[in-house]
C-alpha cells in the first residue's frame, strides 16, 4: 500500500554460526514477500544499507560472550519495540556455553597463542539474561517456517503459534516408529521441545536436543531411562550438555550427573 509506512526489521548478530540469520535468507520462496512486507532496516549479512532505529522488530542471533556484547544488547533493546531471539545461542547461550562449566581461561590458553589478546566473558548466556525478550524462538538452527510464523504474528499483533510440547508429538504426527522403544536408541525426544519436525528419529537416530527443553520437562525420568539403556553418568551428563547446555532444566540435569570430585 502506497503511503503506509512499513514496519522496520533489524537483524543482529552476537556469538554464533550465522545459521539462524541465514535461515531468513533461506526462505527463498518467501524472502521477496517478506522484504515487501517490512523495511529491512539493518541486516548486515544481507545489506550494507543501515537505517537508523528505532526498529519495530529486532531479530537477535547469538549469545552474549564479551563486554562489548553486554553494552550492545542494551542499546539494541532500547531501539527495539519488539525483540525476538532466534536460535539456541540467543536463547540459551548455545554450544559455546560449554565454557560455563569450566574455567574459560583454560579454554583461551588451549586455543590462542596470545591469550592476552582475547577479551571474553567467563560465560556464554542467552539474551534474556541481560535484557527483556519478547519472544524466544528455539532451535539449532531455527525452523524457518516458525520464523515466518513469528514475523507474521508480530506484524499482525498476535501471539506466535509455536508449540511447546515435546519432540515425541512430532514423531507421532510424522508416523515415525519410536527409536527408543523399538531400537533402544538413546533419544532426548521426550524432554525436548518440538520444532524440527521429528528429524533425527526419521533418519534412524535419537534426538540430541537442538530445540532445548520443552515446557516442564521430566529430565530426571529421562536420565533414568538413558541409564537403563546403558548410558553411564558421563554419557548422560554429555547428553544434556550440548547445544542448549545452559538452559536451566538441562544445566540442572547435567550437573546432577557431575563427577563427585567435580
Amino acid at each position: 500500500m502506497a503511503g503506509v509506512k512499513k514496519p522496520k526489521l533489524a537483524v543482529w548478530k552476537f556469538s554464533s554460526c550465522d545459521g539462524c540469520q541465514l535461515s531468513l535468507l533461506d526462505c527463498e520462496l518467501e524472502l521477496l514477500a517478506v522484504s515487501e512486507a517490512v523495511e529491512i532496516a539493518y541486516f548486515l549479512e544481507a545489506s550494507r544499507k543501515v537505517v537508523k532505529g528505532p526498529y519495530d522488530i529486532s531479530l537477535v542471533e547469538g549469545s552474549i560472550t564479551t563486554p562489548h556484547d553486554v553494552k550492545a544488547i542494551r542499546d539494541i533493546r532500547k531501539m527495539s519495540k519488539t525483540l525476538v531471539t532466534i536460535g539456541a545461542c540467543a536463547t540459551s547461550g548455545g554450544i559455546q556455553a560449554l565454557r560455563n562449566f569450566t574455567d574459560v581461561k583454560g579454554f583461551i590458553d588451549r586455543v590462542y597463542a596470545h591469550p592476552e589478546y582475547i577479551e571474553t566473558l567467563n560465560t556464554s548466556v542467552g539474551i534474556a539474561d541481560h535484557v527483556p525478550v519478547d519472544f524466544e524462538l528455539r532451535g539449532c538452527p531455527i525452523n524457518k517456517q516458525q520464523l515466518l510464523e513469528v514475523l507474521n504474528a508480530f506484524l499482525n499483533g498476535r501471539k506466535p503459534n509455536v508449540p511447546k510440547h515435546s519432540e515425541c508429538i512430532e514423531c507421532k504426527i510424522r508416523g515415525t516408529s519410536c527409536v527408543s522403544v523399538a531400537k533402544g536408541e538413546a533419544c532426548l525426544g521426550p524432554v525436548v521441545q518440538a520444532g524440527c519436525g521429528g528429524l533425527c528419529p526419521a533418519h534412524q537416530r535419537g534426538c540430541f536436543g537442538c530445540f532445548g527443553p520443552m515446557e516442564s520437562p521430566n529430565t530426571e525420568s529421562m536420565a533414568a531411562l538413558l541409564a537403563k539403556q546403558g548410558l553411564d553418568q558421563r554419557d548422560i551428563r554429555r547428553s544434556f550438555r550440548s547445544y542448549n547446555a545452559n538452559a536451566p532444566a538441562f544445566r540442572k540435569e547435567s550437573e546432577a550427573h557431575d563427577d563427585e570430585s567435580h
Binding site: 544481507a46 545489506s47 583461551i108
Partner: protein, 354 residues
Amino acid sequence: MTTRVIKVDALARVEGEGSLLVRIKDGVIKDLEFGIFEPPRFFEAFLVGRDYSEVPDITARICGICPIAYEMGSIQAMEDIFGITVPKPIRDLRRLIYCGEWIESHGLHVYLLHAPDFLGLPDALELAKSDKALVEKALRLKKIGNDILEVVGGRAVHPINLKVGGFFSTPRKAKIKALAEDLKWAVETSLATVKLVGGFDFPVLEQDYHFVALRHPDEYAIHEGRVVSNRGLDIPVSQFLDHFDEEHVRHSNALHGIIKDGSGPYKVGPLARYALNYDKLSPLAKQAAKEAGLGPVVRNPFQSIVVRAIELVQACEDALRIVESYEEPDAASVPFEVKAGRDRGSARALLPYL
C-alpha cells in the same frame, strides 16, 4: 603529503563479522588491518572429552553457511584414524551433499553477497525492485542447493544425517531422482550466471598469489586430494602441519595462516582452487570460463565472482551426474572399530578453505 584513512567498523554482506582499516599516505598503503572480531567460541577446547560420535554435529556449528565442510572435515579425520574407507555409493552421496552446499553457498555468495558491489546497490533485495525475475532465479538456484542438503542430510542448516562411516539413513532413490529436473535447470542457470557476472566491470589488478588448494587425480577437488601450491608444494593432507602454521595477531580473533618455509601468507578459495585444478573442470565449465574471457589462472581478486560462478557450473553438473546414476547403497554406513589415535591431518578442519 596527504594521508587518507578508510575505516569500516562492520563489513556488510560477508559471512561472519569483520572490520577494515586502511591508512594510505601519498597513494601508498601504510597500514592495512583486516580484523575479525567474531567472538571466540573455543571449539578446539570444548571438543576435548566428547565422544567421537558427537564430534561431527558439534563441528557443524562452526558455520551455519558451510556446515558440511566442517562435518566432513571431522568425519574424515576420524575415518583416517579408524582406517575406514567408504565405498563408492557413500562417497558419491558425500560429494552430492557437498555439491549441494556449494550450490547454496556459492549462489548466496555470488548473487546476494558479492554482485551488489558491482551493481552499486546496497543489497540484492534492491536489485529485485528493478529485476525481480533475476533475483527469483538466484533464489531458486540457492534453494536447489538447499534441497540437496535436505534430501541427503535432513535439513539445510546443520544436517543431521552424516556420521563417521557414512550416513544414518539411506536417501530413497525416488527422492534423489526427483532432484534431476531442477538440477538440469540449475546447470543452465549457472551458465547464465557466469555470463552475467563475467560482464561486470573489473578494476585492473593482478596479484602474485601463492595459491594453495586440494587437488585430486579424478575430479575437481572438493573434499579429497593432496595439498598443492603453484610454487611446487605437493603433500598429503597428513603432512599439512609440517608445512603450515597459524599466527595470532592482536587485531583479529581469526588466526593468520602462513607457510612455514618463510614465504608467508597464501591464497585459498575459488581463485586458488581454479588455478590449481583448471584441467579437472568439466568441458562445459571450461567453455564457460573461456567465453567469460578467463585463462587457466586468474590473478585479479575482483574476478573471483566469475570463478565462483564457474565452480557453480561444476557443482551443478557433478550433482546432476550423481543424481542420475544414483542407486541406493546396500548399507547406509560401513562398520568399524573405534581406535585411539592422532590424526595429524586434523588440520582437515582447515581444508574447507582449500
